[in-house]
Amino acid sequence: MAGAKDTEVLTALHVLEYPYKRSVGPVIGRFLTGLRDRKIEGIRASDGRVLVPPVEYDPQTAQELSEFVDVGPGGVVTTWTWLHEARSNNPLQKPFAWALIKLDGADTALLHAVDAESEAAMKTGMRVKPRWRAERAGHILDIECFEPEA
């Protein structure tokens, strides 16, 4: 490349920022409305399984789904990881666990953060319950995180 060697190469901070608002639709909307009321709902799939979080269409048959089912609020950790350093946007800003949580009455698992004292306090099969935010807006973060059941 012409003159490449005599040119000092520049770098600059580049911030990408999108303040998006999203329409949630009837199914996700009902789930989020439920969270605002401290209630967790799944949806029944064509084969009878209860999917949490709910989806609009059956993952296997693409049939439109509409039968909501109350689940949780407690559940069982099916797999987890311990994050020693939280990423800057994570729900908890300290060492914490991510877990897939099968809520009572559900057949699929919800991803969320678990606030445990240490990695040693985490175990597949352990029971956890949601910790609700005091100010709720109808958002997945209305659940601040899950925590071990006493």
Binding site: M1, R22, V52, T78, T81, L83, H84, L110
Partner: protein
């Protein structure tokens, strides 16, 4: 079906961060090398298809800018996928089946160094339930790794051995980034990043690019002494939300392999795009390669030795094809993946004549 072969492949050396060159500057020599080595004049290449992702470098429509590297004048027939270049190759392969053109250029490029890759990748997640939590790519893979370890015979040592083998084989690959001799026992003494994943379980972050030229039938025979024929190619995708999937298996890989004819007979080489060590174990299981059977796994070092996003899958096809063209192998599997926890998978079967 028309016979389609890889007749040329080129890639940049993967580096942790290229602070000097922009994407076009990285890509241009790679495309020039691939086209020159194909023996097909650029103007006779009837289709160009690329794979890239704008979020990697944070530049919207970066792929349009990437076109400067091919010289799109007079206007060329072109397409782009917001995915690995392996999917761009699939699109080109489909177009070649139509019979209108007999050569295509495919490239993939990714400069991951400007941002924080594991966080940037959260932007591919569903925006309602997952993305607001910002679960980084390593954490999601770690959920899969633990599920695998706790439900199968696989161990953290098996994972460390995958890392050690990949980095060792990468020593023979001049384009690899993370190579050398490592003792699995020593690797297992390293701390977890997101348990049960340690640093060696995760692919390095790379800047790089790759390009492939495909040609059909006699055109391929005329320009290549030994074309790497694509005998089958297929890709499949699973539901997105990780909690609805059995993360310990890869049914999409299995079906793609079945459709591509990759479950019949034996293979000399398998180039698998596993950006995490445990994912190689899952993929090998899906492809019937769990036990040693004479198939050499990732002789290039694979993604654990170099992982330029949006090019690393295309590189698997190129590496497999190179081994056929140079006579080292007669039959090879190439695999590419996309999305969290092996959500989407592509399998191709390549053969010499």
């Amino acid at each position: 079906m028309r016979d389609v072969a890889v007749v040329s492949f080129a890639q940049s050396k993967s580096v942790r961060a290229d602070p000097v060159q922009n994407e076009v500057e990285i890509l241009m020599p790679v495309i020039q090398e691939a086209v020159a080595n194909s023996g097909i004049p650029a103007k006779e290449i009837g289709f160009t298809c690329s794979g890239s992702a704008d979020y990697l470098a944070g530049q919207p429509f970066a792929f349009v800018y990437g076109l400067e590297a091919i010289g799109a004048w007079p206007p060329v027939r072109e397409s782009h996928v917001e995915a690995d270049g392996a999917w761009a190759l699939y699109e080109a392969w489909v177009l070649l089946q139509e019979g209108e053109i007999d050569a295509a250029l495919i490239y993939g490029f990714g400069k991951s160094s400007p941002g924080s890759l594991r966080d940037v990748l959260t932007r591919q997640l569903d925006p309602y339930y997952l993305a607001p939590l910002w679960p980084d790519a390593i954490s999601l893979a770690a959920l899969q790794a633990r599920a695998l370890l706790e439900s199968t015979e696989n161990t953290e040592r098996d994972m460390a051995e995958v890392a050690a083998r990949s980095r060792r084989d990468g020593k023979a690959n001049p384009n690899a980034q993370l190579t050398g001799d490592f003792d699995p026992d020593a690797l297992l003494k390293e701390p977890y990043i997101a348990s049960p994943l340690r640093k060696h379980d995760c692919a390095p972050i790379s800047d790089g690019a790759a390009a492939v030229v495909l040609a059909t039938g006699d055109r391929a025979r005329a320009v290549s002494k030994r074309p790497a024929w694509i005998r089958g190619i297929d890709h499949r995708v699973e539901p997105h939300y990780p909690g609805v999937r059995d993360l310990t298996r890869s049914p999409s890989t299995r079906i793609a392999a079945e459709k591509a004819g990759a479950l019949d007979g034996t293979f000399d080489v398998a180039e698998l795009y596993a950006p995490f060590t445990h994912q190689e174990l899952i993929l090998r299981d899906a492809l019937g390669l769990a036990k040693p059977n004479g198939t050499k796994i990732n002789p290039s070092g694979g993604a654990l030795a170099a992982n330029p996003m949006m090019a690393a899958g295309l590189i698997r096809i190129g590496e497999a094809a190179t081994r056929i063209t140079n006579g080292e192998a007669n039959r090879a599997i190439a695999h590419a993946t996309s999305g969290p926890c092996l959500q989407q998978n592509l399998v191709a079967v390549l053969e010499g004549e």
